[in-house]
């Protein structure tokens, strides 16, 4: 049970997505999941061991690390990836429900159970809204927890049992910052893709509805 599950989920969801949805899936897979697994995890691997304070007082390093990094960047990143991919499951479940219903009643209830119309359109739009919401929530969380997206070289800590204000040095701050910016950029790209897909769907189905009504009036 590892990231392979998320990769399979993204592949499965792809079947029921629009074109923009597939681009979103590709971006999440290539630029977020893959970068996380092959690069980011390794950068933050020894963050606690390499966090060094200018003092020998036992416990001071632990307390300072805990104060400045309540939740590690890499854990937040992983949570974000999971939360952002999960709303797509709603669409998968709805399609499975439709197909089950058809099987149960043994007749064709829908023109195409996988086509995005009616109830499935609502589910799809809800999943898009949730995805965008989660992205924004996590970006705000990152910003609030770490006072922006910068990682300083040095933090000053004076929490007990540190006897005075000590200097604590963070390992690889530049590399971490580069990858953090990369995370923020890809999140923003995904938000833009989600909003475009939402607008596209709403526009397409409004036009469809309007045309239907127009044809009815004509008749």
């Amino acid at each position: 049970m590892s990231w392979g599950f998320l990769r399979d989920l993204l592949s499965g969801v792809n079947k029921y997505s629009t074109g923009i949805g597939r681009i979103w899936g590709a971006v999440v897979f290539m630029f977020r999941l893959l970068v996380y697994v092959v690069a980011a995890e390794n950068i933050w691997k020894y963050e606690h061991d390499e966090f060094e304070c200018s003092i020998k007082q036992p416990g001071c390093e632990n307390v300072c690390f805990d104060h400045f990094f309540p939740v590690s960047h890499v854990r937040l990143w992983a949570l974000q990836l999971i939360m952002v991919s999960t709303p797509s499951l709603l669409v998968v479940f709805h399609v499975a429900y439709r197909e089950n219903r058809e099987k149960h009643h043994n007749q064709k209830l829908y023109r195409n159970p996988r086509e995005i119309d009616g109830g499935l359109l609502c589910t799809y739009i809800i999943s898009l809204v949730l995805k965008t919401g989660f992205e924004i929530v996590f970006l705000v969380l990152f910003y609030k927890l770490y006072n922006g997206f910068k990682i300083p070289h040095l933090v000053k800590c004076d929490i007990r049992p540190c006897p005075s204000t000590v200097d604590c040095y963070i390992s690889k701050p530049t590399e971490k910052m580069i990858f953090l910016y990369f995370l923020v950029a890809t999140s923003c790209l995904c938000i833009i893709l989600n909003i475009s897909e939402l607008s596209y769907l709403i526009f397409k189905y409004s036009i469809k509805c309007y045309l239907k009504r127009y044809m009815k009036k004509q008749q």
Partner: protein
């Protein structure tokens, strides 16, 4: 979940590539990704632990390491490989879109559609012509740009491709100019030069593929112009198809594309 997933995706694109494209993909997987995973990651594995500075001042090592290695070689290579593989997805998406259109035509019962069933559409191999030619050529162009950008970034960040044994550091809180020693500098230099050499080979392969595609495009155009002059009303579709099939070297492996192109 690792590079294997990338292999699955790119393997599907392989079916629709030219022979040079297939060689490029093989070089990418064997000489770059595999070397990165089985060798380079071990060499750079202990890079910060074994980076030693000639001082006991706490924090000096961290600051000096961060100053000399803003982004580790390994991470730069991983990013380079991801960016260089991404344009192939454009081709995969275009192929998927074409398949989707053909399936739609087939379902509508279009008489123009020459396929007998959906399975044939799914396993069909598209020739690189028309709009697919433009997508394929753009993907090669982007690959070239990404390779060149990363090679330049490497050169710029590390002042060349050699790893020095000793670095002199005077960043605060180091008390004065201290000597810092890099772990395994020779081995790292060897691998850096190897990866740069393979990148250059990939750039050459991409340039060769681009030239091949352009030559094919102009030859086809001149053939069409020649045919149009001689027999303006006669459309010999069968002959042109046969010629193109003879030109393209067919691939025997039947890699199915999972996920992004289904």
């Amino acid at each position: 979940m690792d590079w294997g997933a990338l292999h699955t995706i790119l393997g599907g694109v392989n079916k629709h590539s030219t022979s040079i494209g297939k060689i490029w993909l093989t070089v990418l997987f064997i000489f770059r990704i595999m070397i990165l995973v089985v060798a380079a990651e071990r060499v750079w594995g202990d890079e910060q632990d074994d980076f030693v500075c000639n001082t006991l001042q706490p924090g000096c090592k961290n600051v000096c390491y961060d100053h000399f290695f803003p982004i580790s070689h390994i991470r730069l290579w991983a990013l380079q490989l991801i960016f260089v593989s991404t344009p192939a997805l454009l081709v995969a998406m275009h192929v998927a879109y074409r398949r989707h259109e053909k399936k739609r035509q087939f379902r509508k019962g279009d008489k123009k559609c020459e396929y007998k069933d959906i399975e044939e559409i799914r396993s069909q191999r598209f020739h690189i012509e028309g709009s697919l030619w433009w997508t394929y050529t753009s993907s090669i162009f982007f690959r070239l740009i990404f390779e060149a950008v990363f090679m330049y970034a490497f050169y710029y960040m590390y002042d060349g491709y050699q790893m020095p044994r000793l670095m002199k550091c005077s960043a605060w809180p180091c008390p004065n100019t201290v000597d810092c020693f890099v772990s395994r500098p020779t081995e790292k230099t060897v691998f850096t030069i190897f990866m740069i050499a393979v990148s250059s080979i990939c750039i050459l392969l991409n340039v060769a593929e681009l030239c091949y595609l352009l030559t094919k495009f102009f030859l086809r155009r001149s053939k069409k112009a020649g045919n149009a002059k001689q027999q303006p009303n006669h459309e010999n579709k069968e002959e042109t198809k046969q010629n193109e099939m003879n030109e393209l070297i067919s691939d025997s492996c039947q890699n199915t594309v999972i996920g992004f192109t289904s």
